[in-house]
Amino acid sequence: MQEIFNIFIKSIFIDNMVFAYFLGMCSYLAVSKTVNTSVGLGLAVIFVLGITVPVDYLLNEFVLKEGAMAWLGPEFVDVDLSFLSFILFIAIIASMVQLVEMIVEKFSPALYASLGIFLPLIAVNCAILGGSLFMQEREYQNIAEATSFGLGSGVGWFLAIVGIAAIREKIRYSNVPPALRGLGITFIITGLMGIAFMSFLGIKL
């Protein structure tokens, strides 16, 4: 139980997808204009990560990994399908994203309109494929750990995007040089936040 909690905290703060690995930057920079939209996108990312990581975990454990097909019978022990992991992971992610897109369109057309092209782009939000690949690489012991990692990474991403959105809402009242307004200053602030987050790097849980 403690291990699960550790993974959760670790993936939020120490292994933060945005600041430690710089994953999921595109939608992070482009959709962080207001707190409202970023909360919406952040929740969508938590949802997608929370589902795809455990699903991909099962897929990896029972289909892809070398020897994973052993449950089908002894003749399958040597089957190694790991070359399919990229495409299967991305297919699972894409279908989840498509699902989220349909749900959001149905229940919150306003959010759907403001997310625009970035909703389908969650599918290529590298934080999400990154989540599944990290899960495969780090070999979590059971599905609870994988789920906690997925949710933690999602929450970390959520916090990061809500944080930058709040700063951007404040910065609207500052006198930023015209050419730097909007995107430029966001890049620079993100860089500074990244440097600040590096102080978490040394912590071991």
Binding site: I87, V124, G191, M198
Partner: protein, 218 residues
């Protein structure tokens, strides 16, 4: 769709040329459309990987734009994301497998980028925004144009990060030993990802200073 036969456009009509040139500045994928940032951070600590990545993206983008544009009338909108990603991923993995089998040394250099290319939102962004609604030839040009716009920014960032961070260009030492003896030190911060973000910020600043129409409202 009208049934009239349209007059054939020349291959490099002004409209088509525009597809090639606007992404270099006015609709630059990185500094204006905000696409492909993750890879821009990951491969720009040195010039060489930045160039390799730019070329790979150029090839993959042109090819996948054409494929999706050819398929565009048959793709059901509800599953278009899956179709786009499967097309990109299949192509990239196939190329990687072939390289691994026959030119192993090249594949060792490239294998790092395989995952980055598949999840590079610039590719899917252009599929979604352009190739789904246009004919193969314009889609091809759009792919090339955007990949070049992406490559230029990558190379600029990598140039400054390598020069200031490691004091080298293409791994050749360009800052003379004398400067180090005099107390010059490489700025180690430059090779960390946060400084790539700040470099992009500065590039945007300079670009918008000269291209006034890009300036955003506060």
């Amino acid at each position: 769709m009208s049934t009239e036969i349209k007059e054939r456009e020349p291959l490099f009509s002004p409209k088509n040329m525009k597809l090639l040139t606007t992404p270099l500045n006015l609709s630059n994928p990185i500094t204006v459309q905000v696409l492909g940032i993750c890879s821009a951070l990951a491969v720009t600590a040195k010039l060489m990987p930045a160039i390799v990545m730019s070329i790979s993206v150029l090839v993959v983008m042109a090819a996948s734009n054409v494929v999706i544009s050819l398929l565009r009338n048959g793709i059901p909108p509800r599953i278009r994301i899956i179709v786009q990603l499967v097309v990109i991923a299949t192509m990239v993995i196939l190329v990687d497998q072939v390289l691994k089998a026959f030119v192993y040394d090249v594949s060792k250099q490239l294998s790092v980028f395989v995952g980055l290319i598949i999840t590079n939102c610039i590719i899917m962004g252009r599929l979604e925004a352009f190739a789904m609604a246009n004919k193969p030839w314009p889609a091809f040009l759009d792919g090339i144009g955007n990949a070049m716009g992406y490559g230029i920014i990558l190379i600029i960032i990598a140039f400054f990060r390598e020069l200031l961070g490691s004091g080298t260009i293409f791994d050749f030492r360009v800052i003379p030993q004398g400067a180090y003896d005099f107390g010059y030190v490489n700025n180690g911060l430059m090779i960390l990802p946060p400084m790539a973000l700040i470099t992009v910020g500065v590039i945007i600043w300079i670009q918008r200073y000269y291209t006034r129409e890009l300036i955003e409202e506060n």
